[in-house]
């Protein structure tokens, strides 16, 4: 009799624990979804940190590499993306436009392809998208330097001194990118009222 009471108690506790863990996880899901919708900063590297330096192969230019620190003096976006990433595909034309608009003011976007599909297909994709800035071939080591890059797209905005001034995880809007670009260029982060708001938001 006593055993069966304990067993029933155990079942009740187990079911309660299951329901509680499910509720907790659901709440975590909602929090993380909300967080990603807000496009928050990731922990590593943080705003104010020096951007971790790297040297990576440049797509389509045999043997040529690019070192991030060689861009000191410019406002830089390091945009991690992949061919299999649909939100990246939406963001790339915005970056192309922003490179055109802010290039003369000292902006340099670099795309880092975090992609295992091979140089040929990355190159074809970049060409199809009309990318007008260098594409580098990402490595696990660089991904780790930038916090593991679980989700794409992820962009790090770096000022002229090499400090990270903003981080965007996930797609947001063209105007949000533009605000962060202004921070990189030392123009402050206020929104330009003439900025075209992205159709995605």
């Amino acid at each position: 009799m006593k055993r069966s009471v304990i067993f029933v108690l155990f079942v009740v506790v187990a079911i309660t624990a299951l329901l509680f863990s499910g509720k907790l996880l659901r709440r975590q899901d909602q929090d993380s979804t909300h967080a990603s919708q807000q496009t928050t900063s990731i922990r590593a590297p943080k705003k104010g940190d020096m951007a971790p330096d790297f040297t990576l192969k440049v797509l389509g230019e045999k043997g040529k590499t690019m070192q991030l620190s060689s861009l000191k003096g410019k406002g830089v976006i390091v945009n991690f993306w992949a061919t299999w990433c649909e939100p990246c595909k939406i963001e790339l034309p915005w970056l192309v436009e922003l490179q055109k608009k802010y290039g003369p003011e000292g902006l340099q976007i670099i795309g880092v392809a975090d992609d295992e599909s091979g140089e040929k297909s990355i190159s074809a994709f970049a060409q199809k998208m009309g990318i007008n800035y260098p594409i580098l071939l990402g490595t696990d080591q660089v991904a780790d330097q930038y916090g593991g890059l679980d989700g794409l797209p992820t962009s790090f905005f770096i000022d002229r001194s090499g400090k990270v001034v903003d981080v965007l995880i996930g797609i947001d809007s063209e105007s949000r990118l533009e605000d962060s670009i202004k921070k990189s260029l030392g123009q402050g982060g206020s929104s330009d009222s003439n900025t075209k708001t992205a159709s995605a938001k």
Binding site: S36, C85, E86, A200, K201
Partner: protein, 175 residues
């Protein structure tokens, strides 16, 4: 003492359930299968996609997108055939409301059959498989993953099985 073991088992189950629930995609455990020589047995993989996430269907809309796919490495004596994927659901997402993607979300089932080779030896086999998927949410996409899956298949000889069935059914005949 037995109760303690039950409590421990329950705790492990709860814990593993919580851990599994944190994965973006999980596949249900496949119970041991039995298949007779010369026959096939159905094989169902129930795949759970965490709420808020989606994966590409088996036939995504563009070649750059990574399809959801099962890869099997059966032992030489077994064949996995007739792998059937559900049709994708055409959905648009906030990052591109004007376009529709072919995706899976929620729970889906991938079906297949397992059959022994004609010269297979009766016995117990383990089949290793992998589910390849690439998940996204409304803002981000996550690197493609391969989720390992393993299941056991018992191959019985046709004659043995027939004898076993004869003995098992005989009492019912008398009823």
């Amino acid at each position: 003492m037995k109760t303690n073991w039950l409590a421990l088992l329950g705790f492990i189950l709860v814990l593993s359930g919580a851990v599994r629930a944190q994965e973006r995609v999980t596949v249900d455990h496949i119970s041991d299968l039995t298949v007779r020589l010369g026959h096939s047995a159905p094989l169902n993989f129930t795949i759970h996609i965490r709420p808020g996430f989606h994966v590409n269907s088996h036939k995504p809309i563009t070649p750059e997108l990574i399809p959801t796919e099962m890869f099997f490495t059966p032992p030489e004596d077994l064949v996995i055939a007739k792998v059937r994927y559900p049709a994708g659901e055409e959905m648009s997402f906030p990052f591109d409301p004007t376009n529709k993607l072919s995706v899976y979300s929620g729970d889906i089932t991938v079906r297949a059959v397992v059959l022994p080779q004609p010269n297979a030896s009766p016995g117990r086999y383990t089949v290793h498989a992998e589910l390849k998927y690439q998940a996204c949410d409304n803002n981000s996409c996550y690197p493609p993953k391969r989720l390992p899956v393993a299941f056991n298949v018992k191959v019985s000889s046709g004659a043995g099985r027939a004898r076993a069935r004869a003995t098992r059914t005989s009492p019912h005949i008398h009823n």
